[in-house]
Symmetry: C2
Subunit: 207 residues, 2 copies
Amino acid sequence: MSGATPDRDPTTARRRGRPPRSEAGDTRERILAAAREEFSERGYEKTSVRGIAKAAGVDSALVHHYFGTKEQVFEAVALTLAPALNATPGVADGPLEEAGERLTRFLFGLWENPVYRAPLLAVVRSAVNNETAAAVFRRMIVTQVLSRVAGRLDAPDAELRAELAAAQLVGCAMLRYVIKMEPLASADVEQVIARLAPVVQGHLTGA
Amino acid sequence: MSGATPDRDPTTARRRGRPPRSEAGDTRERILAAAREEFSERGYEKTSVRGIAKAAGVDSALVHHYFGTKEQVFEAVALTLAPALNATPGVADGPLEEAGERLTRFLFGLWENPVYRAPLLAVVRSAVNNETAAAVFRRMIVTQVLSRVAGRLDAPDAELRAELAAAQLVGCAMLRYVIKMEPLASADVEQVIARLAPVVQGHLTGA
C-alpha cells in the first residue's frame, strides 16, 4: 500500500482519456458500489471501512489505498452525485421566472433515477446522524446548487430564499422517499412537481 | 424484576391522581431521560437497551421491566412529545384561513423549546435510518397532526395538501436544526415563520 499512485484519487481517476475499465478501475468501482450500499443502508456511523471491504470482497488496506479514511470514502460516494450536480448550471441559468420549475424537476429527476437514489439516501441518512456527513451535505447542496441559484437573485436575502426553497424540496424528498408517507409516497411525480414548482418559485422571486 | 407492577406502563404511569414522584417514578424518568439522549445522539440503530441502562445507571432488566423492547422504549421517548402534540386540536381548530400560521408556529414552538428538541432529534434521526422508527414517526405526524388538519379541508386531495405543507415544515426543521445550514440556522425564528406561514397556508387552502 506504500507505492503511492497519485492518479488514483477521486478526481483524476475519472479524468477523460484514461482507460476506464482497467483492472484497478474495476476494483475501485466495486469498492465504491459497496460503500454506496453500506452508507445508504446503515448510515455513516454504523458503516466501517472493514464492512465496506468485506462487502466488496477486498482487504481493508485496499479501501484505504484507493480512498483514504472513512470520511474520504463517504466523500467519494457523495461525489458520484457530481455529474448530476454539475448539470445544475443549466438549473441556475435560463429564465429566472422558471427557476422554480427547473430546480424542482432537477431534484425529483435525481430521486426518481435509480442510479442516484442510493447515493442520495446514503448522504441524507448519514448527514442526519453525523456532523462530518452533514458538512459534506451542506457543501454539496450549498456550493453546487444553492449558491448558483442565489447568485442569480437580486435580493439581499438571496441565500435565505434559496434555503427555504431547498427546505420545501428536501422535506418533500424526505417524506416521499425516506419516511414514505402516504399518499405523498405514491403520488404521481408530475403532480408533485406541479404543486411544488410555484412554491419554490415564490421563495426565490416572490414579494 | 418478577414482581410485575402493571400500572407502570407509559400510559397509566401518567394517569391523573397518581403520586408523580415515587421512587419508581424517578427510576422510570431517569431511564427515559437516558433513552432520549441515546436515541437523539446515536439514532435508533446504534442505541441499545444495554447502553440506555448504562447511561441511566441501572440494570438492563429494569429497562425491560419498565418499557419492554427497544422499540417500546423508543415509543415511550416519542410519547414524551404527546403533551405537545395533544395541543394540536387547537392547531387544527380555529379559523381555517389562519391554519398555516398556527401549524408553522406550533412546529417551530416545539423545535425552539429545549424540552422537546432532544426527543424531536431522536425521532427524526431514528426515522431516517430505521423502518420501525419511521413507522412511529408516520403514526405520530399523520394521526396526531396531519389527519386533524386534513379533516378540516374541504378538498378531495386534503391529505396530499397536508403532507406537502408538512414537507415544507419538516424540510425547514431539517436544514435549520439538524443539518444546520446557514443563514437559515441562525435566522430569527419569527422571520422564518413569517416566510413559511403563507406557504403552508397556500398548500392547505390555495387554488
